[in-house]
């Protein structure tokens, strides 16, 4: 019953999306103007129906309804409730439904609260949003129906991959998807503006909160995913340049560029065509990422070729939407003028530099991610990994980060470096000092550069506050300062992890002691423990930092029985200056147990920095939305007074 309800809601949502597209498009013409009134309500209803459909699937997973194929394949009655619920999106069909639901709700939200866009642009935007939604509804209904019944029902479910049974991963996909799909709003705004040719500061101010919102979620999603990989995979790596990671990084890079160019457009009415282009590119990257992750092409090009139905469907959508948007851009770009001009040394100049560099990094990541797939299609298997991505992206990232120290200090339109040279003395000294110190430590070029840039940015990010009364500083400026400081903090963590990590691999008997960095670690006991759907061997470690207080760590090796899988649960001990990371391996000969221990100085800074970046975004969003609200309230008051006087 619930499955049928969910499926019906999904069909209805698809039908409403079609209606929204047609009505929105017709309403732009003279004869169809009467339809304008229904577009917003339809958009709201479409989102609500998508939500109903998604909630129906959640209920099916909650009840472990084994007569539904998807539940039988991906869930198990003995699974903890949290993972039953989060199992909803731990599979292909469920995650695509989550995608479509977020997309529908974004459209609803735009229809409900966006007031600043001129009406024609708004109609075109909602039509564009419906057009994209429609493709994903069609994909779900045609080739990924999550509500397919199983007759007869399964006796027991097959279970969820134990790696995914983790609180961190439970909320990673929804966060990331809100970010991914939230960018569809920027995409639809860009389409709407291209259709009506209304690109200007008002458009930018309307678009900015949406971009900021999705960018915050993307940032948090990537940070959470990176931390999950760090502690769950049990090897202490936090970024692997894995295609799935790159799939989330690419929209983030585009959205970061968009965030900065939209500010230029809002403040100075410059970079018009470029901003619209980035709006198209950002969501295109979301779709490319979805294609990579969901088509099965990553496992093997051949696996994709053997069962091409889903992959080709998404590929078709990709070509349709990206190609269509680029075509529209090509046709209209010439009529969207570039806007106001500015000197090279100016705030705009620095932001253009940042945008171009981010785009180049995006290009590198895209090429490096797609190339192995292309090569495999041509019959050769190659791998592209950290030895390629790290140095090649650094070529662009290092100049960008240098300019990041200076850009926020420059004035709009025209400025000179000599005006701000006194402020730059300290950051430059820090940069050079850290670089010299790093070079003398023989830690490698990239970690040394990372430390130097972090030292410089840590100071430079606060310089825009200089000479201001802190209480009067507006929230968006605080947001910028905090986010840029977050970049410095994250860089410190990355460089420190690369330069200073200490590793110890040992086989210990119970009672034996080893050392890693400043830590002394004793293996006290190995004991068996049991959880709801696993059993484990757990090590009791007593660790003390530089002979200080003893703390306990419990790394474990878990065996799940459905599906039968072994995972290792790392144990972490965090201090202000770093993390001790312990993993229990197998038993080796003579009652010894394999232990992997790492001392990773300042490594948590990577994620603290990432969170600071997101917090900066949040402050900016808060500030913008609050001032918008104040303006609306004031405007409504004036309108109300006038109407009273009129009477």
């Amino acid at each position: 019953m619930i499955a049928e309800l969910g499926l019906a809601a999904l069909w209805l949502a698809a039908a409403l999306a079609a209606l929204q597209l047609i009505a929105g498009a017709l309403a732009l013409t003279q004869r169809g103007a009467a339809l304008a009134g229904i577009v917003r309500p339809v958009a709201v209803a479409q989102g609500v129906l998508a939500l109903v459909s998604f909630l129906a699937l959640v209920v099916l997973f909650w009840q472990t309804d084994l007569s539904v194929e998807l539940v039988a394949k991906n869930s198990h009655s003995a699974k903890p409730l949290l993972y039953k619920l989060t199992g909803t999106w731990g599979n292909h069909e469920g995650s695509m439904l989550l995608w479509a639901m977020v997309m529908g709700l974004s459209g609803s939200l735009v229809a409900l609260i966006e007031r600043r866009l001129p009406e024609p642009t708004m109609l075109a935007t909602l039509a564009g949003q419906a057009f994209v939604s429609l493709g994903f509804y069609a994909f779900l209904l045609a080739s990924s129906n999550p509500f397919t019944r199983l007759n007869p029902a399964a006796i027991e479910g097959a279970g969820l991959n134990p790696l995914l049974q983790d609180p961190g991963l439970a909320f990673h996909p929804p966060t990331l998807y809100i970010g991914y799909v939230g960018l569809s709003v920027a995409f639809s705004f860009a389409i709407g503006a291209l259709v009506t040719r209304e690109v200007g500061p008002a458009f930018a101010r309307a678009m900015r909160p949406w971009v900021l919102g999705s960018w915050i979620f993307l940032t948090i999603g990537i940070v959470a995913g990176s931390y999950w990989a760090y502690y769950e995979l049990g090897w202490g790596g936090w970024w692997f340049w894995d295609p799935v990671e790159n799939a989330s990084l690419m929209p983030w890079l585009a959205a970061t560029a968009l965030l900065h160019s939209v500010s230029v457009l809002a403040a100075r009415n410059a970079l018009r065509a470029w901003t619209v282009m980035l709006g198209v590119v950002a969501f295109s990257m979301s779709m490319v990422g979805t294609f990579l992750v969901r088509s099965g092409i990553l496992t093997s090009v051949h696996a994709f070729a053997v069962d091409p139905q889903r992959g080709s469907f998404i590929l078709g959508l990709l070509v349709l939407y990206i190609g269509g948007a680029l075509l529209l851009f090509g046709l209209r770009a010439s009529s969207v003028s570039e806007g106001e001009r500015f000197a090279a040394t100016s705030r705009e100049g620095a932001l253009v530099f940042n945008n171009v560099m981010l785009s180049a990094i995006l290009g590198i990541v895209l090429v490096g991610t797609l190339y192995p797939l292309l090569a495999e299609a041509l019959g050769a298997k190659v791998s592209v990994g950290p030895p390629y991505f790290n140095p090649v992206s650094a070529i662009f990232a290092v100049p960008m980060l240098l300019v990041l120290a200076v850009g926020p200090l420059l004035r709009w339109r025209r400025d000179s470096l000599s005006r701000i040279r006194l402020q730059l003395v300290l950051p430059v000294l820090l940069f050079v000092g850290a670089l010299v110190w790093g070079a003398s430590d023989a830690m490698g070029i990239l970690p040394a550069l990372g430390l130097a840039l972090a030292a410089m940015l840590a100071v430079a990010s606060f310089l825009p506050l200089k000479g201001r009364k802190l209480r009067q500083v507006k929230l968006p400026l605080w947001g910028m300062v905090v986010a840029h400081f977050g970049v410095a903090v994250a860089l410190l963590g990355m460089a420190s992890d690369a330069a200073f990590t200490k590793e110890r691999l040992v086989a210990l008997r119970e009672g034996e002691v080893t050392e890693v960095g400043p830590w002394t670690v004793k293996l006290q006991r190995i004991e068996p423990v049991a959880g709801p759907n696993w059993t484990a061997l757990r090590a009791d470690l007593a660790a003390s930092y530089a002979g200080g207080k003893v703390s306990e760590l419990h790394p474990a090796a878990r065996s799940f029985w459905s599906p039968p899988t072994e995972t290792s649960e790392a144990a972490l001990k965090t201090r202000w200056n770093g993390q001790l990371y312990a993993v229990l391996g197998e038993e080796s000969q003579g009652g010894r147990w394999q232990l992997r221990l790492w001392w990773k100085p300042f490594v948590p800074m990577i994620w603290y920095g990432g969170l600071l970046i997101a917090l900066g975004g949040l402050l900016a969003l808060w500030g913008r939305v609050a001032s918008d609200l104040r303006r609306f309230v004031a405007r409504d008051k004036i309108a109300w007074r006038r109407s009273r006087q009129g009477r």
Binding site: D242, R341, A343, I364, Y371, S383, L505, T535, E587
Partner: protein, 138 residues
């Protein structure tokens, strides 16, 4: 009922190492560091750039797979014997193909990987020059 499960669980736990003993023991240097820190650092740096062939997107330095362990052992033994890291990489590539190395070689198939960044660099320079010059004269 719970007790019965617990009993089974505990038994299963103690049975696991017995099963493990049936398997081939890991290679000598799979999980053992080299005594010389400089050599170990060299070996580790190389391991980070070699792909575990049995895993999805993991280097042999980040994998529990037995084959990754064998390859780690091989890398450490050869580094200890004084072999150059790039020579070891070349040997592995010859044996397992380009797929094993995360640092793509320049071949007739892979040269665009290295040319595209140069093209991007040129494009970036061009865009910046055009945009920023044009603005200057305004």
């Amino acid at each position: 009922m719970t007790r019965a499960w617990l009993l089974i669980a505990v038994l299963a736990v103690w049975a696991a190492p017995l099963q493990a003993q049936d398997g081939v023991p890991p290679a000598p240097y799979a999980n053992v560091q080299l005594a010389d820190p400089a050599q170990e650092a060299k070996a580790h740096a190389l391991m980070l750039t070699l792909r575990c062939l049995k895993c999805q997107s993991q280097s042999i330095a980040d994998s529990d797979a037995p084959m990754a362990g064998d390859m780690r052992s091989l890398v450490r033994e050869r580094i200890a014997a004084g072999e150059d890291p790039e020579a070891i990489r070349a040997w592995l590539v010859e044996r397992y193909g380009d797929y094993v190395s995360y640092a793509p070689r320049v071949t007739p198939l892979t040269w665009p990987l290295y040319v595209i960044p140069l093209v991007l660099l040129a494009a970036v320079g061009l865009v910046l020059r055009r945009r920023l010059r044009k603005g200057d004269s305004a």
